[in-house]
Amino acid sequence: MSHHPQSVGTARGLTASNEFATVLVERVGDDPALLRISDLRRGRSVVLDPLELEAITRMSRDEIRALADPSYAGTFGQRARGEDFDGMVGDDEMQIEGISG
């Protein structure tokens, strides 16, 4: 039982939402093969084809967790690893821009 609306249909596609994230899943134009998944909070999206989506169905919960692991995925930018982070926007720069809380 859940009282939280988990997903709603929109004119464009299907939204899945909980208190942690909101994503939109929609077709890419009339293309029967492609689905675009968009992170509505951060504005990023990815287009996946059937084989890529099929691959997800074979993943274990642990593998999905590894995929979701935020350790080395730039929350503010592209996927990056280790030392690449030094190039990311840090506290100092955000303070300069006046957006750090």
Binding site: F20, R61, A68
Partner: protein, 435 residues
């Protein structure tokens, strides 16, 4: 009253031959409150959820163990986890909704991510000179409440790893749970409705005492009895208080059966039906005949009768509802009433119970607002702290041993309340850590 004899300070609960009194401070003192959060709630079994609230993998809800906020989640393997709702990084609450569905939780402050089994999936932006060193002492995940056990779908959790097994803890209270749940021919309930939630400016123990208090009904609920006489079952469909249509009837119904005390502080009332014929041949006879086939005559007398429990420290069972009381401070309490459906019975029966319980227990209802009003009146009265004691000696002279540490008395007496206070005192005054 003042203590004239200084031989021994009786403490917060004064027991002795023909003596059972509770000190005012037990209800009003913030120091006592802080101690009971540790001794009564955090070292003990506490009811946190019913399994039907998180029936599917990925479902979660929030709850509390005393003042400790927790998340109750069901993982992919259907296992239930009870987790402290606090990011182990810098302390932010992880879940801000009361219920939802998620396989992953993400902290809103710095994006640390957890599985719904509590395991840390990863710290965001972990690498680099601003991140964590290679030998960082990585936490396992959200802090886990060490003991979680269910009895017939009722989920209890304990912050104390050494508590006794739940069934042993429940003792005779499990019999009351059985009486309630066996009102379903398949022995199951489902929480479908949003709950009724009330707050009152009074101590939490008033609710723990009152749910098994037969004595107050003829006074606090005199108006309801009057209303019931006028409208019978026409406004409550049927059932909730059927038979209570005159003060004499109230006394008759409430003096049948026994009240029980138990070694772990539960207070119970069990009033079997004397004659099953009105049930078997009444409006819902088919339902009761189905129960008769499922459980037999003696059990049905208990099931069709009234069973009520105050399960130490925070769970109440009465009619067809689960009630939870949550202490917020010495003089503020939240009460949540979850009306439940009986699985496998006519929709009409569940609907009737729902409307009837709404009529009595709702914030604009004809029963519970009077109870919570009286709890506030009690708290007001206890501001007269110059008076030392409250008196809980009804039926003390006529208690009966029931074996196994249980004892009983006549309904309308104060056996269930004494049962509560004896356990409360053991936990509050013991020198050793409790289990």
């Amino acid at each position: 009253m003042t203590e004239s004899n200084e031989a021994a300070d009786p403490g917060l609960v004064w027991t002795g031959p023909k003596r059972f009194r509770v000190r005012t401070a037990a209800y009003v003192d913030p120091v006592v409150f802080a101690r009971e959060m540790k001794r009564v709630f955090e070292s003990n079994w506490v009811f946190v959820a019913h399994e039907s609230e998180i029936s599917e993998p990925g479902n979660y809800k929030t709850s509390h163990i005393g003042l400790q906020p927790v998340i109750i989640s069901r993982d992919d393997d259907r296992q239930i986890h009870v987790l402290l709702n606090r990011c182990v990084h810098r302390g932010a609450a992880v879940c801000r909704e009361q219920r939802g569905s998620a396989n992953l939780f993400r902290c809103p402050y710095h994006g640390w991510m957890y599985g719904n089994d509590g395991k840390l999936v990863g710290m965001s932006l972990a690498g680099g000179d601003a991140g964590y060193d290679s030998d960082f002492d990585r936490p396992e995940g959200l802090v886990r409440v060490p003991r979680v056990e269910s009895y017939r779908g009722m989920v209890f959790a304990s912050l104390n790893p050494d508590v006794k097994p739940l069934v042993e803890y429940l003792g005779r209270a499990a019999w009351i749970i059985d009486n309630k749940l066996d009102a379903s021919p398949v022995g199951q309930i489902q929480l479908r409705s949003k709950p009724i939630v009330a707050r009152y400016p009074g101590n939490w123990k008033f609710q723990a005492e009152n749910i098994v208090d037969g004595y107050h009904f003829s006074f606090v609920h005199e108006g309801f009895t009057h209303l019931q006489r006028q409208y019978q079952d026409a406004t409550g469909d049927f059932g909730v208080h059927a038979g209570n249509d005159s003060p004499a009837d109230v006394r008759r119904v409430r003096s049948r059966g026994r009240n029980y005390g138990t070694p772990n502080g539960h207070g119970l009332t069990a009033r079997p039906v004397a004659d099953l014929v009105p049930w078997l041949e009444g409006k819902h006879g088919a339902y009761y005949r189905e129960l008769l086939d499922a459980y037999g005559e003696e059990r049905l007398k208990m099931i069709a009768g009234r069973s009520t429990a105050s399960i130490f420290p925070n769970l109440g069972l009465i009619h067809h509802q689960i009630r939870v009381w949550r202490p917020l401070s010495a003089n503020l309490t939240e009460v949540t009433v979850y009306p439940y459906d009986l699985v496998g019975v006519d929709e009409e029966i569940n609907r009737g119970w729902l409307r009837s319980q709404e009529r009595f227990y709702g914030a604009a209802g004809y029963g519970q607002p009077d109870d919570t009003e009286v709890f506030a009146v009690n708290q007001q009265g206890l501001s007269a702290t110059a008076v030392d004691w409250l008196i809980l000696e009804r039926g003390l002279h006529a208690e009966r041993d029931e074996g196994g540490g249980d004892w009983s008395g006549q309904p309308g007496g104060e056996v269930p309340q004494r049962s509560f206070w004896l356990e409360w005192m053991r936990r509050m005054e013991s020198q050793e850590e409790q289990s």
